[in-house]
Symmetry: C3
Subunit: 140 residues, 3 copies
């Protein structure tokens, strides 16, 4: 059961693709079937499988979540109590809750069974740069 | 580690149950414990485990997501950039991000450990008919 | 492939941490690597990995979901059809759909690889007390 941790350096809110890093880990450890579990060790960013064809999809996704969960400095978010880590912190936790911190992807013939347009993304919800740890676990 | 792909033909937005197909695959390959991973290979539909008793629950779920994420032709969604694949496409990606593309379900005595009222659904977010591929992976 | 079911007694909406119960199960069954799958057998509560440092984060998360999905007695929710199980029931199904019923967590050296601030929670969406069953499956 191979396992590794990769680190992604983020520079503000948005989607950061790491499909190739995950695929390289799978290929280096399997030529058959299995299950890749991708797990992010943080509560203010998350994971997403989404379209990697048109970059506008990434921008629109990010924009939707900003509109659904504005910063706690926004008049509509005055009810937020947890503000001491900055106006982007509590919204980051909420956006992480609305998406996922863990995704399981079946592997066949040493490759993730992603569809043609599916890419694997870290979804950063904080404004400032962060180093994000993602655990990759290849099991049966 | 048995693996198979099933195809569901959808006819517009809504929930399509496939609990029986998944259960048949599990039963055909296990009489003990394991883990079924269900993975959908698309970015404009998703997966959901939900109540399968009252059909109104399905309709209300679908209605909620349509209200939270209206078509890009709706005045409230004018900020959407990715519109060239139709007014239902970008909302479909957003709804997929708000739900899941992968669900892991433990198996005991050759059956998924679903609760009494839990059913397994494909959640179609596009208006037109589609053929959707779901990978079932039975592992340990 | 060890498997067990734990029960959590809830007393109204909110987050109930069970990180220690899950960790005890993992430690009792592994001193190496593996994959813990956590699965909740209900459709009106869900699972969440979130910050366990400041209790205000839990309260703000709960408040956000109550605002996004008010009870069906709320004037903004008059479109809901499934009301016979109470004004908190259909919103509970919707909140479960917006979060998760299953989470996979890699295990290393007999411990879940949770980040420093990550805790594992049952997210109860009903008002009245419930006994909630969670299946823990430790696989490879």
């Amino acid at each position: 059961m191979p396992q590794t941790t990769i680190t992604i350096a983020t520079r503000g809110q948005g989607l950061y693709e790491f499909t190739h890093e995950a695929q390289a880990f799978v290929r280096g450890n399997s030529d058959g079937e299995g299950l890749l579990t991708v797990f992010v060790r943080h509560t203010s960013c998350s994971l997403l499988i989404q379209e990697n064809a048109d970059p506008d999809v990434k921008r629109d996704l990010d924009a939707f979540f900003r509109r659904l969960v504005p910063p706690s400095s926004d008049p509509s978010m005055r009810w937020i109590v947890h503000t001491q880590e900055g106006p982007d912190d509590m919204p980051a936790h909420i956006k992480a809750a609305l998406t996922q911190v863990s995704i399981g992807i079946p592997v066949a013939r040493g490759r993730m069974v992603l569809g043609t347009w599916q890419g694997l993304y870290l979804f950063e919800h904080r404004d400032r740069p962060h180093r994000r740890e993602i655990v990759l676990h290849l099991g049966m």
